[in-house]
């Protein structure tokens, strides 16, 4: 499922993804709140202006206008930094975008509302205010919402393609800047809720999502070199996740560790722990990710090292767990 050979990178994945989508789907509108350039929405803005809508530096407006656009029959894809699109406009995301579709609402299948949060977690160098370390947990708490944290540009593209045909609210964490192509699109076929086995082994089972899956792959390489057997499961969909696949994976291993670019509370680690503890008698779950304290700012390698999320420390810590 993973590409072999030297890594290749997409320098601006969403610029291509959004442009290709808008060329195929004339009912899609890419929306911005003064951050088009910083979310890499350039071609759509310049070449397909009728499919681009900027609401100014106003994130609550971004999501409430988007919800109105959705009700007109178009498909809004609201883009912003993850911190603002969730924290600043959470009520609009929940009430305006999230209450029109699915169980407990008035419609089985209502309008499609998509929000993409860029530079999530420590993918932003500016500490605290620009770092969304809790977005997955926030959106996961919204009933009927779909939440996806893709690991590379292939995953990201496929997640958005799935979202445009899905009723209700979908939140996707976006990648920007040099983004690796890791998944082999000839073998990888994205389905909402599905989990993907990237390495099959015994003993330690690593479950990861988003950028955390990239970090876990790096650690996995070191573990393999050290002769430490393990498996690696990529879980792009945080909600609704295929719980049976998580359970089968977890109970096939002695020790589970989770890796995410998100606080270890409310995100993937919490999700996995909740699923396993509901059954009982399962393996211990050790969560790696951002702590529930303010993360430092700076470059990604610096922040990762500070938080023990660099490949070497992560691999060492994972090994520690089985001793």
């Amino acid at each position: 499922m993973l590409l072999k050979g030297a890594r290749s990178f997409d320098p601006a994945p969403f610029d291509e993804i959004s442009y290709d989508l808008c060329r195929r789907r004339k009912d899609v509108v890419i929306m911005s709140a003064d951050l088009s350039k910083y979310c890499q929405v350039v071609r759509v803005k310049n070449e397909l202006p009728s499919q681009h809508l900027d609401v100014g530096m106003a994130e609550q407006n971004l999501l409430s206008v988007a919800a109105g656009v959705a009700k007109s029959g178009l498909i809004p894809v609201a883009t912003c930094f993850a911190c603002y699109i969730t924290r600043r406009a959470y009520d609009q995301m929940m009430v305006c975008m999230g209450t029109g579709s699915g169980p407990g609402t008035n419609r089985e299948a209502g309008p499609t509302n998509i929000a993409i949060g860029f530079t999530p977690g420590i993918a932003n160098p500016a500490r605290i205010h620009h770092q969304a370390a809790e977005d997955l947990g926030m959106v996961r708490a919204i009933p009927n919402a779909t939440v996806i944290d893709p690991m590379d540009s292939t995953d990201f593209r496929a997640a958005l393609d799935a979202a445009v045909d899905r009723p209700g609210l979908t939140y996707i964490r976006g990648h920007r800047g040099d983004t690796p192509r890791l998944l082999d699109s000839s073998e990888f076929s994205f389905e909402i809720g599905k989990t993907y086995l990237l390495r099959k082994g015994k003993g330690i089972g690593i479950i990861a999502t988003g950028l955390g899956s990239q970090w876990a792959l790096e650690a996995s390489k070191l573990l393999s070199e050290q002769g430490v057997d393990h498996s690696l499961l990529h879980v792009p969909t945080i909600k609704p996740v295929n719980e049976d696949e998580i359970v089968d994976f977890a109970f096939a291993h002695n020790q589970i560790v989770t890796v995410e670019n998100h606080q270890i509370v409310t995100g993937l680690g919490s999700l996995v722990a909740e699923i396993i503890s509901d059954i009982g008698g399962g393996p211990r779950v050790k969560r790696f990710g951002l702590p529930n304290r303010w993360a430092p700012g700076g470059t990604m390698p610096y922040i990762r090292a500070q938080l023990g999320l660099d490949a070497k420390t992560l691999a060492n810590n994972i090994t520690e767990r089985v001793r």
Binding site: V29, S50, L53, V55, G56, A58, Q60, N61, S64, V65, A66, A67, G68, V69, A70, K71, S72, G73, L74, P76, D91, Q92, V95, C96, T99, G100, T105, N106, R107, G110
Partner: protein, 281 residues
């Protein structure tokens, strides 16, 4: 030229809507004072301004931003036959489908509007989407002066003006009353019309209870090109039923035991009889 019969017919409908508001809210209480005050706007919207479609509903869209004013829609849609009074008497009951503040997708309600201040942006997004697709639907959105204290409202106003959405008409229920008291005492929002004008709207300030004036203002809204329109309606709670205005002038929410419902219904029936006699005579 205004047709007197048209005005009179709508005044009769407004009186019937007022009576429906009281009949619905007397069961378990509700937002009766606002519903009564908005009955003229409601009659004008649902029986004159919104164009019908071919499926028994409306071609144009009405977006209610302050969800608790849903009573104005229910009471009007009882007259149009979209709801029965039997259904509507379950308003505010446990397990009812007639929510005091309904969710998106219920008949008559485009958005989930209980979290105040989110209607104008959604209405503007809807109007932008219609225009973008070459559709001719007009969008109307009612919100309250209290909501003007929410930042999201002004973001939506700015967007609507920037996009020159002349298929959009805002209706401000400028009743000077919010949960804690007079808007002017809690957090003043005046001068409302000048603020809208400064933001790029065409604004007109009216009573909101004079039918001929309402018809004229809706016509002006329709004829306004190149910018969105707002009508600021200086309504007061219980407008149209003097005895209730006198009895409970400060009601945000009217408890079932707070007023003499029969007295209010009697007054509105007297009004109705007078209007019908005028029509028939």
């Amino acid at each position: 030229m205004r047709n007197d019969h048209r005005v009179l017919d709508l005044e009769i409908l407004a009186a019937r809507i007022r009576r429906n508001v009281l009949e619905i809210c007397r069961q378990r209480g509700g937002y009766a004072a606002q519903g009564v005050a908005l009955s003229d706007i409601s009659a004008c919207l649902y029986f004159d301004e919104l164009r019908p479609d071919n499926e028994g509903w409306y071609h144009d869209r009405f977006v209610l931003s302050n969800g608790h004013d849903a009573i104005m829609t229910y009471a009007a849609l009882a007259e149009s036959g979209h709801y029965t009074m039997e259904e509507l008497r379950t308003y505010n009951a446990d397990g009812t489908k007639v929510d005091q503040s309904p969710l998106e997708g219920q008949l008559g309600f485009e958005i989930t509007a209980g979290s105040l201040g989110q209607g104008p942006s959604q209405a503007a997004g809807l109007a932008w989407g219609f225009r973008q697709q070459g559709m001719d639907q007009r969008v109307y959105c009612l919100f309250s002066d209290g909501e003007l204290q929410e930042g999201n409202v002004w973001e939506g106003i700015m967007f609507a003006a920037h996009q020159k959405l002349d298929n959009l008409c805002f209706i401000v229920d400028n009743n000077d009353m919010q949960a804690s008291g007079h808007a002017g005492d809690v957090m003043g929002v005046e001068p409302v019309d000048e603020k809208f004008t400064a933001f790029g709207f065409r604004a007109r300030r009216i009573s909101g209870t004079d039918m001929a004036e309402l018809l004229d203002t809706f016509e002006e809204a329709r004829n306004t090109k190149g910018k969105p329109f707002v009508m600021i309606c200086d309504t007061r709670l219980w407008d149209g039923i003097d005895c209730l205005k006198k009895a409970l002038p400060m009601a945000h929410y009217t408890a079932q035991s707070a007023i003499d419902w029969n007295k209010g219904i009697k007054e509105i029936e007297t009004t109705l009889t007078r209007l019908e006699a005028k029509r028939d005579g």
